[in-house]
């Protein structure tokens, strides 16, 4: 009996261990290649510092207190942009989902904004706002807006017509229908869209700071480039990756699960993105 049970128990563990092994192998290969390049090809740690020097620099930056203050500054501007995007995007997205004219009217805007290279937005930020924190928030708003619009419009289009018909038959107040039928259908689309667009908005925000900012992650990366310090640039680059991964995987995913714990999650394919 025990002999027959063993393979059944061992299989799930193998399912976890084998992927983790290959995943670790991939990361170790990357680190190994990097270390080997610094040793045998580049030689000069000033041009390509080895991984441990970058890790040491990251530790120093954490000790100097620069990391949290600059990430907080960038995050504040990103959130401000998101706030503007949702304030404008909710009524416009509702109109797009409800009226064909609104959808056609905003078609070019959605298409253009989602297909313009990031550098264009950085330049526009300088043109419109100069060196001003509002510039970064404005550009985040512009970049996030199409995702909000498309997802709200898709949400409105997917509202159950039978429920709406039933509400009309029972003469339920319009506000109550919006609160009880329309909003619960739209919200998962909005949040899933926001999660998808987070990394993009964060990258654009940092780029805008690089072009014209006085604080923030992008500004710090620009300063490192100004000093021609590869080790500092790499250190900030890894902070950037760690932050995006942690924020997306821990904060946004958990928030989404918590908010919609009462209903099944949306599949990735049902989220409307502006690209592809």
């Amino acid at each position: 009996m025990a002999a027959t049970q063993r393979p059944v128990r061992a299989r799930p563990r193998a399912r976890r261990v084998v992927p983790a092994f290959y995943s670790l192998l991939g990361l170790l290969t990357l680190l190994g290649l990097w270390s080997a390049t610094t040793y045998w090809i580049v030689f000069d740690p000033y041009i390509l510092p080895p991984p441990w020097l970058v890790a040491q620099r990251m530790w120093e930056l954490l000790g100097e207190g620069l990391v949290f203050s600059n990430f907080a500054s960038s995050l504040g501007k990103t959130f401000l942009g998101w706030l503007f995007a949702f304030a404008i995007g909710i009524p416009l997205g509702l109109a797009m989902g409800r009226y064909r004219y609104a959808k056609a009217f905003l078609n070019d805007f959605v298409y253009l904004v989602s297909n313009v290279p990031a550098i264009f937005w950085a330049v526009m930020s300088i043109l419109l706002f100069g060196i001003n924190p509002l510039g970064a928030a404005f550009i985040v708003m512009i970049v996030v807006l199409p995702v909000v619009l498309l997802n709200i419009a898709a949400g409105v289009e997917s509202v159950d017509r039978e429920l709406l018909g039933m509400s009309r038959a029972f003469k339920v107040r319009r506000m109550l229908v919006v609160r009880s039928v329309v909003l619960p259908t739209i919200l998962p689309f909005v949040l899933a869209g926001a999660r998808v667009s987070f990394a993009n908005s964060w990258k654009i925000e940092a780029l805008t700071e690089l072009f014209g900012g006085r604080r923030g992650v992008g500004y710090q990366i620009g300063q490192a480039f100004g000093r021609y310090s590869v080790v500092d640039t790499l250190a900030w680059m890894f902070f950037f990756v760690i932050f995006v991964v942690l924020f997306e995987r821990i904060v946004l995913v958990r928030l989404e699960r918590w908010l919609f714990r009462w209903r099944p999650m949306l599949s990735e394919s049902s989220v409307v993105t502006v690209q592809g």
Binding site: P19, G26, A104, N107, P117, V123, L207, I221, F225
Partner: protein, 270 residues
């Protein structure tokens, strides 16, 4: 009476035209142009008007800078995308076909996707200076993971029974890849490549801006250094027109051909 009926008919025809999809799109375009003009005239001194933007690009054309720099950037983007196409499809299809490859590349691809192109652009300037290598390498680093993810999703969509049949008939791996895997992946590859063009173009432009002596990005930076906003916006318009042209004249016909056998379906890009 007849005149009244015909005037009612013509006014209702105008109303129909104005409220049609095309009417809505043209109203939005004209409104955007008007807002741009008002912003540059009354609100933001730095913002050049549409006329000033066109004027400086005509000057750039007359100087010979417009075509030369556009061609340099296009050559770099073309080289970048050729490399991306090979690497992205190889990595993505390997991830879709073999479990070890999937987990081996998964985190590497995720890290590369999370990284913003401008950091690679800055590093490439510090590593290679003003060379052709920088823009191309940055474009490849930014765009390859995107295509790899799409190719991976496409490879997973390959019908398992057809794959089993290929194994049963001992179809050579290369033929299986060409006749089965690539065909099943085509829709995903197309969508991924569309994003790759934007990402690769963006990577090339950023590297040209930060450290190069030729190309669209360089020219835009040239006017930035000269504090000339007309030139900055003019080259920005060139960037937008490039993407729109690629989409309308390359991708849209290709997509129509790819989906010719399908009935119905709706696409957003209008």
């Amino acid at each position: 009476m007849a005149t009244e009926t015909s005037s009612v008919r013509s006014s209702s025809a105008i109303w129909r035209m104005l409220t049609s999809d095309r009417g809505a799109q043209w109203t939005a375009r004209l409104l955007a142009l008007g807002i741009w003009q008002v912003l540059s005239d009354r609100v933001v001194d730095r913002l050049p008007s549409p006329r000033e933007t066109i004027e400086i690009m005509v000057l750039e054309y007359q100087n010979g800078d417009l075509i030369t720099n556009i061609l340099v950037s296009y050559r770099r983007v073309g080289t970048t995308l050729a490399i991306v196409l090979v690497l992205g499809i190889l990595i993505g299809s390997a991830m879709g076909k073999w479990m070890p490859a999937r987990y081996y590349f998964k985190d590497i691809v995720f890290i590369l996707v999370s990284l913003p192109g401008f950091i690679w652009a800055l590093l490439s300037v510090m590593w290679w200076g003003f060379s052709d290598k920088g823009p191309i390498v940055v474009g490849v680093l930014v765009a390859t993971p995107i295509l790899a993810i799409n190719a991976y999703q496409g490879a997973q969509a390959v019908p398992a029974n057809l794959r089993a049949m290929s194994r049963a008939y001992r179809v050579p791996l290369r033929r299986e890849f060409r006749s089965l895997t690539l065909r099943s992946m085509s829709e995903y590859l197309f969508a991924g490549f569309r994003i790759c063009v934007l990402a690769g173009f963006g990577g090339v432009l950023l590297t040209e801006w930060f450290g190069n002596s030729e190309g669209i990005g360089f020219r835009q930076h040239y006017w930035y250094d000269g504090n000339n906003f007309n030139g900055m916006l003019g080259w920005g318009i060139v960037e937008i027109l490039t993407i729109v042209a690629i989409d309308r004249f390359l991708f849209d016909p290709l997509l129509r051909r790819l989906r010719a056998w399908r009935v119905g379906g709706e696409e957003w890009s209008g």
